[in-house]
Amino acid sequence: MLPVQLIVALVAGIAIIVLLFLGAHHLGGHTVGRVVLLVGLLALPLLLSVGNISFGMHESSTTHFCLSCHEMQRHGKSLFVDNRQALAAVHYQNRFVDRETVCYSCHKDYALFGDVKAKMNGLRHVWAHYIAGVPETIKLYQPYPNSNCLHCHDDSRRFVEGVAHRPLLDAMYAGTTSCLSCHAIVHDMAKVDAEQFWQAR
């Protein structure tokens, strides 16, 4: 359920429309009444819709939204595995990314239309979930781009001065060497299946 404020606003909007429906005969006859109708039937409902969709877009970027589909729940559990090499777990457990939006932080592109592309991919996921069926193996639509890693790590001292990184920096920036060629374990499903999880104290 969305926040109570939004629900109340939508209910109020519907109540106003009902009142305007009943008073349409009186209001439609003069200019002030038409302005009231314009606000109640056009401006207010549009404002409510924009708010509702805007909140929905924000909400659709959250971790619990992604994990609300059962096929993603193993990926969700992989955030908690006890493996200091598994990228998803390391980023989540060390709070390298906001835990509320952990899936979105790593899986959206940071280019101009990154958000739009992520939402379009979300539509494909919904299509697969409800209509086409979920593939047996869940995999990315395209190879994971270094730019997503570099969005945060780019000029961080630990990354730039890392002994293993230094000889590969140019290749990583050019995208010819994938970050994942060394950091190969992303979601450690073996440990998910073995139920080896890290517990915060």
Partner: protein, 70 residues
């Protein structure tokens, strides 16, 4: 004159029903929030609201045109 007002009232009420339906769809989606209801809310609810607004504007415009006000 009375006929014209009745006609306008009927059209405004139709616009209110369409717009109200749009808000009801959005309210139902907000109460049962899942990926599919969010898509329904955005793809059905919001366009209905917009359609209600357009119907209202068209009704008022035609009424004013018939009266020679525009």
């Amino acid at each position: 004159m009375a006929d014209s007002t009745e006609k306008l009232t009927r059209k405004i009420r139709r616009a209110a029903v369409v717009g109200g339906l749009g808000l009801v769809v959005q309210l139902a989606a907000a109460l049962h929030w899942t990926p599919i209801t969010f898509i329904l809310s955005a793809a059905v609810g919001a366009p209905l609201v917009l359609a209600g607004g357009v119907l209202f504007l068209a009704a008022v415009w035609r009424n004013m045109r018939d009266k020679g006000a525009v």
